[in-house]
Symmetry: C2
Subunit: 443 residues, 2 copies
Amino acid sequence: MLGFNFSFMMAEVIGAKGITERGIEGARSKALAAISELKQKKRAEMGWLDLPWQDTSAVKEQAARLRDFENFLLLGIGGSALGPKCVLEALSPLHNLKRDKHKTPGVFIYDNVDPSTLESILSVIDIEKTAVNVISKSGGTAETISAFMIIFEKLAGRKENFVLTTDPEKGDLRKLASGGMASLPVPPGVGGRYSVLSPVGLLLAELIGMDSGELLRGARDIHEKCMSEDVLKNPALLFAVLVYLMQSLEGRGMDVLFPYSDRLRAFSEWFCQLWAESLGKNGLGLTPYPSVGTTDQHSQVQLWMEGPADKVIVFMRVEDYGADFRIPDVFVEYANMAFLRGHGLSDLIKAEEEATELALAKAGRPNMTITVPGIDAYHLGQMFHFFEIATALTGFLLGINPFDQPSVEEGKRLTFGLMGKKGFEDKKREVEEARAGKTFLVL
Amino acid sequence: MLGFNFSFMMAEVIGAKGITERGIEGARSKALAAISELKQKKRAEMGWLDLPWQDTSAVKEQAARLRDFENFLLLGIGGSALGPKCVLEALSPLHNLKRDKHKTPGVFIYDNVDPSTLESILSVIDIEKTAVNVISKSGGTAETISAFMIIFEKLAGRKENFVLTTDPEKGDLRKLASGGMASLPVPPGVGGRYSVLSPVGLLLAELIGMDSGELLRGARDIHEKCMSEDVLKNPALLFAVLVYLMQSLEGRGMDVLFPYSDRLRAFSEWFCQLWAESLGKNGLGLTPYPSVGTTDQHSQVQLWMEGPADKVIVFMRVEDYGADFRIPDVFVEYANMAFLRGHGLSDLIKAEEEATELALAKAGRPNMTITVPGIDAYHLGQMFHFFEIATALTGFLLGINPFDQPSVEEGKRLTFGLMGKKGFEDKKREVEEARAGKTFLVL
């Protein structure tokens, strides 16, 4: 089970910059209201809370059908790509280079409309031997649909290569599915950024040889704990209360996710999308920051230690890396090398993690630590479910709806105008007026 | 040549949230002092300004020697890894999957001490057929040295597989080089994060088949423009003045780098290290944020548009992607798809970039745009040199030394204590006392 150490958030340990037990007590009624909002699932967008109990047979069936394809190409953007990317990088690092060993398809995730990337991907795969998973809940995401149209033509419409992951009832992709393309549902009440434990993430997990049921079992096992009304025993609620208090009392509006594992780099990005899009509203919100230890000790820690006092650092400490290397007895004549001898590489990464926590705490920089027993499907499922619940609770505490994203619409409308979509002629004019207006250039 | 459009930073275009021409005028004396500090190169750490004129013959010689190795493994962390990673991803995307076509070595960058990553890498390469580039300016970076010791033993000390990139005179790696291992210099006055145009980045460029001279030619071609004392004609100085004014007048202390290109994802990370470690000091500093368009429109833009008014967005717009795909005439019966037909994918990505600029501007969110003619070695060299100069100038404007990183030392000392290095026994005790003290846990 994940653990949660919040010592270095507390005034009793780090002094005046920390939160007091009385401060947590003071937030209790807000916390109770938040957990009650979660448990009652009053909003339509809270279907993701039920995902851990879903039936995975349709996912397993599709995975069995697609497993013999040479490659698997996922078309999606935002949550539709970040969740699967997380699963891939955490559970099967360097997947495409280890393919012969796995006997599973190579995996490519195209989550942009960069033509150069598509050219690169198409130059290393045989598209006819590629299964294509098109993921868009609405069925109308312009980036995903454009790529789908291009690939569909390249495959001369061979339906058997495709699986469409989309709303079970609405949208253009669902209509295409009714016309004979295989499909999987994004269940009702599951928005893109809360969808990783739906078929969006589960299909890829199965295809790379994992049991998607383990992801769900992990989520189920942490669920009840995250529903407790006792703030000090509910890690997700406590996490939410602590970041909320750090913002409202101390003006710390940035939350850095700092996993000490290369395999959790994409997890850090997944968290940032979840946190940013859920909480950035009404002139409010907390800004996430993606980091990876030890690497970013040599990149970001200087700023976290000594820059503006506006951040909370969330460490993720891995207990068992599943591999280790002993640093050998070489270069014994050099003092900068000799002390490393005999230690495991995992001793070093864990020592650096602990040292960085303490160094930040000594500098009055609050931080907390999620401990992760190991990086496998079971614990990854716990991590997904924990952070989704913590995000929703933080939204409720801040009085922000964590399930919409109203401000991305204007950019879409202006894009529609530029691309000549009917009904958006005024948006095209707006861009043209901006182009014709005053500009400031250095050439 | 790179272009710079700062219209959406200006009050005349975006209204009250913008900077006035008078505001820029008001910063002129500070700007002149900053450019003078740069031009006089008074500080010892400013050797990187001369890198564009370096002799590349030693780099080319090492590249020729190493080109026939099957793989190239780079050991480094921070700037020693991010610069090379940038070069690789920008100039040779999916490099390891396209190897047969390139006839160049596969490339692996190990920039952490995660044992799981090292195991993955060693499982897909034959270490005896691998050239190993150990990069550490000081020659004593614990993470890099640990990996070096492990690999050195696995190679049974075969010196011919190694090239050490380090200080030309000092440190343990330099001593090893004197003992018969090939080496390249990190020239004097070139810190890790300003080192990409030294042999640190150039060797990798040559190995993947690029002409490192093109990187330097790009940097040379933008150099003079970035040395001008005319704020409105010097893009680097203007960039620095604008972010400085946005922080000091508007409280916007975060700068988001938002290139619309997958190939510049690592560039975004490289910039963040440069910006964070150079400027995060004395309780001050600007916080960078790494993004990639269009992808992060579905991740971060909601927060940039409607969250706290504390950010400046720096777009990077690519003019020529070097590839394109026409969106074909399929699915004509669906309105969400039909309007995309006939456009190129590059039309769509450029439209989204322009639309997002305007949407942010309309919401009173200042942003500016670097235009990049194409992603090749020449323009990448310009980008590196431009951002290094802009970072140094911003430091001078803020009164911050952009070349040191004093606050990463305490974490290192605590790590040394935990790892049993002589002289750091008190640091070990400090960690043990923290462990034994009051803790707050949720299990």
